[in-house]
């Protein structure tokens, strides 16, 4: 059985989120990415590998360098149904909160 990498797992990690953010602005090679972090190049490389496996980035050979590029269409999945569901209930809890405030005020 092959295990498919999960996009939520991919973005759960702050380092990986930061890498996506960096790559969204421009393509970078692993060394350039690693320079931005206090962790080892190997650790950065593992994060990059995971992002690559779940399709959030692609790695392209350019001359002797391998450049990482953010694949934004895949990232859309993250902001979709779950995101809407979360926002919907955040909003409902806001309504609930203000309604509770209103009825408690009346009682006093």
């Amino acid at each position: 059985m092959t295990q498919t990498r999960d996009i939520f797992q991919a973005i759960a990690d702050p380092t990986r989120r930061q890498i996506i953010g960096m790559l969204a602005r421009k393509s970078l090679n692993v060394n350039a990415i690693a320079q931005e972090f206090d962790i080892t190049r190997q650790a950065v490389s593992l994060h990059v590998q995971l992002l690559n496996e779940c399709g959030l980035i692609v790695i392209k050979q350019q001359g002797r360098e391998r450049y990482c590029e953010a694949k934004l269409s895949k990232l859309k999945e993250v902001t979709d149904w779950v995101d809407q569901y979360r926002k919907y209930w955040d909003n409902k809890f806001d309504s609930l909160e203000s309604y509770l405030a209103k009825i408690q005020k009346k009682k006093k």
Partner: protein
């Protein structure tokens, strides 16, 4: 300070928490009384009519939401009812049984306030992923891209 307003996904479960500035009995009341629930339930701009509500295991809340020029029939079936601490219900009547999900709301007293923990349990993680893909396909285009842009701006500024 601990953050009480959270959201996370654990496999096939979506979990919301929210700390409400009201006693637990009152929070229970606004979830289980038709006069109260119509004041906050449902999408913004919709109104709500309850046909019947019996908050007991196996019994239902039968209601209509009015909005966008249409009436939307809704049924919720209560599964567990432990006043004032636990309410579990099933959403049914979806196009496919697979998309039905169960919601449990835990009401906890925290020094006179109420901590809500809402767990939405889906059949599988794959179902949630499928919903994501479908919404993606329907909405597509501009709105999602705009949101994505904002999301990336936030990421970039972190």
């Amino acid at each position: 300070m601990e953050n009480y307003n959270t959201f996370k996904q654990e496999e096939n479960i979506l979990i919301h928490t929210r700390l409400l500035d009201a006693p637990r009995d009152l929070v229970w009341e606004v979830w289980t009384n038709p006069e109260h629930i119509k004041e906050w339930w449902g999408p913004n701009g919709f109104s709500l009519t309850t046909k019947s509500m019996t908050v007991e295991p196996g019994k239902i809340w039968d209601f209509i939401m009015h909005g966008m020029g249409k009436d939307w029939d809704n049924k919720i079936e209560y599964v567990e009812v432990k006043k004032p601490s636990l309410l579990t219900y099933k959403h049914s009547g979806e196009r496919s049984e697979d998309y039905n999900f169960t919601v449990s709301i835990l009401f906890e007293d925290v020094e006179g306030k109420t901590l809500l923990t809402m767990k939405s349990v889906f059949k599988s993680k794959a179902i949630i992923e499928e919903l994501n893909r479908k919404v993606n396909a329907i909405e597509g285009g501009k709105q999602t891209l705009n949101r994505l842009e904002n999301y990336l701006k936030i990421l970039g500024n972190e």
